[in-house]
Amino acid sequence: MKKFLITGTIVTVVLAGFVSLFASASPDGLESVLLTGCETTDGEISGGTCVLQATGDHEIGGVFADYGMSFLDNEILGASLAGILGVLLTLGVATGLFWLLARGKKPAAPANDVQA
């Protein structure tokens, strides 16, 4: 189990911190449909009318708004760090919550955790 978890965590951190830098920057399925009727230049709406135009700014922004770190000058480093910290944070929050939920519950059957 340990080996599986460690491998999984490394893969996940690499996906968020490195592979994500090469992800497509095009609007996704929902956005592209909400953009129908508008023209865009450099990722900003530049004309026309569409649903997405009506959207306001995000209510709170957040420390890692738009998967970057606003206080870092280096955009690539910021995106990579935001991804890695996001993964570690998610891992921590989820494990913590599920641990609370499972508290006091022992495995029903003897764990068949022999290999790996």
Partner: protein, 251 residues
């Protein structure tokens, strides 16, 4: 960022601010709270301490995978929703909780999906996607052989149908509380469902790969298999009479 002109490329699949009106958002927030509460109760029944680290890792993996937009058409991308992965590995209740945690972290810390749209997004991506995927998976595994390929095909189908169902959830929400601009609701619905077939194919390829990889290494960690390992396809050595395999005897 100028007000009123959010950078398009930084938004994600999640519903942004002010697309769906307040009353509709509130109704779906209530639905989400009730359903997630029910999932919490149901998930505890199947949860034990051994499963906790796996559920935590699956949640982190879905968070990472949602950052990886892949191109699906010229100028359009898609990303994994994760419902099918969560359902296959952890079952519908715990799976839905994993995706809920991801969506909450994205909305609260990453400005991805509006806070007011949390209920809408949780209903679509965590509840509709995960439960649809689980239903399809359970049905498909009854029909398909319990081999690596059978599981892969089942997960692939579950992924596509779950993503299209999640996007249909958005269409319903927009019909209730959205304002048509620039295109009719019908045209928009067709476009959304159509693009999400493509997103679903991408999700299906990634999820089928990930789930079969886990199933081969650790079948006990795949909830959908219910504790039974995959039927091992007969190897070459077993299908051929031993005489035709000189390497074994000649050595």
């Amino acid at each position: 960022m100028q007000k009123g002109a959010p950078p398009v490329e930084d938004l994600a699949l999640h519903i942004p601010t002010d697309v769906i009106d307040g009353p509709t958002s509130l109704i779906f927030a209530l639905v989400a709270v009730l359903a997630v509460g029910w999932c919490t109760v149901a998930a505890r029944r199947g949860l034990d301490e051994r499963l906790v680290p796996l559920a935590g890792l699956a949640t982190a993996f879905i968070f990472a995978a949602q950052m990886l937009n892949f191109p699906i058409a010229a100028g359009v991308s898609g990303h994994l929703l994760g419902g099918a992965l969560a359902a296959a590995l952890l079952g519908p209740w715990l799976g839905a909780l994993c995706v809920t945690v991801v969506i909450a972290i994205q909305a609260l810390l990453f400005a991805d999906g509006a806070v007011t749209a949390l209920g809408l997004n949780v209903v679509n991506m965590a509840l509709i996607a995960t439960f649809t995927a689980y239903g399809v998976l359970a049905l498909a595994l009854k029909v398909l052989p319990r081999t690596r390929w059978g599981l892969g095909v089942a997960v692939f189908a579950a992924s596509i149908i779950s993503v299209v169902a999640a996007s249909a959830g958005f269409v319903l929400q927009f019909w209730l509380g959205g304002e048509e601009v620039g295109q009719s609701l019908g045209a928009m619905a067709a476009a959304i469902l159509g693009t999400h077939v493509l997103v679903g194919i991408g999700e299906g390829v990634i999820t089928a790969g990930a789930v079969t990889a886990v199933a081969v290494a650790r079948p006990d960690l795949v909830h959908a298999l219910r504790g039974t390992p995959l039927a091992r396809p007969a190897t070459l050595a077993e299908t051929l009479p031993s005489k035709t395999l000189p390497s074994k005897d000649a050595a």
